[in-house]
Subunit: 249 residues, 2 copies
């Protein structure tokens, strides 16, 4: 058996999420079925993140194991051929050691959340960003975001379905920047709770609208109470952008 | 009657083009029907460019005239409401003088052509860019492009259906730049021939692949013969990005 690391780019719109589910299309099922069609083997895929329905990925990191002898290039080409016309592309493929695990070896994950801040409806970015018509103050958002960076109990920003053993996480980075009508929130951590990025972005948007201030955000964090969450941002603005592994620069 | 200048953003994928056609959906028909639904009037729209099927616009400039009294803001909001869920958005609307004409007052048009230069199939950019799997040398493309800048007879780069009186045009700018896997061609002129940008981009792609060089491109230009065209790039990579008018900065 050879283990292959895959880098996946996908538009999450038509999928119920990355992870395989009964009776609903998933990215995992699509890639596993492509790999099975190529090899005739039962193939299971593991991934760095478990993105929700509608969430996108620019560079999800995953792995599969296959017995059939193939070069990484041929495997990538065959997977891409079988994945058409689904909006999933394998952008990189390489053979890795048997103890390299896309999920358990991962030591860092980063996301970007895209907000289009304008009144006009979205055209190109429909299902690809969250449209917020009220003017957003990105400087206030960035300042308030710094209150969430570091080691905290993120219970307020955690889905009730979250399966993580602990709500205590270290958030390494949370920045807000504007480029024209687009406001981007960047988040990085070793790992995130379920809905954590969307919950943080939702509350930062309230700050940007002037409905919350930094102090209100700090109170919500300290309350450790999901009821104190102001707003959960919709999934379609969220992109998994990178995963880090030891010995990668 | 009040004349309103509109700025339109649209994804050209579902349309047969900007201009109204029989038995095929067009951007013009969509906006005219929205304006008629709002006002109860017959409305005709004029635009700076006449983009083909599948060609996109980030900021097409157009105008309509209506008798009903409305502020530009209310007209824009109403048009956007009626245009949903079609991928057309009115991003700006203002009242203009009766002699301001979106097409005939326009003194400059610019386009960008997006190439995604990679082997993996497109996901987010499907129908939004031209995928070229062979490595492209953007420096050679940019150098060759300079041979087309200036006053020339562009017959080689003109569709046989072109209705322009003369094939002689002045090309003000043609640049090629790369950002990661994306190669962008920027073109600006007072006006363009039908298919001119796509025809220039197709031949520049041949240069980028190493199949043509600058001299071959110059020979094609000097031949003034459509048969000498190397390649016409597909429509879905092309975006109308801006139109200039007198007294606008």
């Amino acid at each position: 058996m050879t283990r292959f690391a895959l880098t996946l780019e996908f538009d999450g719109t038509p999928f119920s999420g990355l992870q395989r589910q009964e009776n609903a299309p998933s990215v995992q099922q699509a890639v596993e079925e492509a790999a099975s069609a190529i090899t005739g083997e039962d193939v299971t895929m593991f991934s760095a993140g478990r993105t929700d329905a509608g969430v996108h990925a620019l560079a999800m990191r995953s792995h599969i194991e296959i017995a059939k002898e193939m070069t990484p290039f041929r495997l990538m080409e065959a997977l891409n051929a079988h994945l058409r016309p689904q909006p999933i592309a394998v952008t990189h493929c390489e053979a890795v050691a048997d103890d390299w695990h896309a999920r358990f070896s991962c030591i860092g994950r980063s996301y970007v959340y895209r907000i289009i801040n304008r009144r006009a409806p979205l055209t190109f970015d429909k299902n690809r960003a969250w449209q917020v018509p009220q003017p957003l103050d990105e400087t206030a958002m960035h300042d308030a975001a710094q209150a969430l960076v570091g080691l905290h109990d993120f219970t307020t920003f955690r889905s009730v379905q979250c399966q993580s053993q602990s709500p205590v996480k270290t958030l390494d980075l949370l920045t807000v920047e504007r480029e024209g009508e687009e406001v981007r929130v960047h988040a990085a951590a070793r790992s995130f709770l379920h809905h954590q990025v969307r919950s943080m972005v939702g509350c930062l948007a309230l700050v940007g609208m002037g409905r919350w201030d930094r102090q209100r955000l700090e109170e919500a964090l300290e309350a450790r109470d999901r009821q104190e969450l102001g707003l959960n941002a919709p999934p379609h603005g969220l992109y998994f952008v990178a995963a880090q592994y030891p010995d990668e620069t």
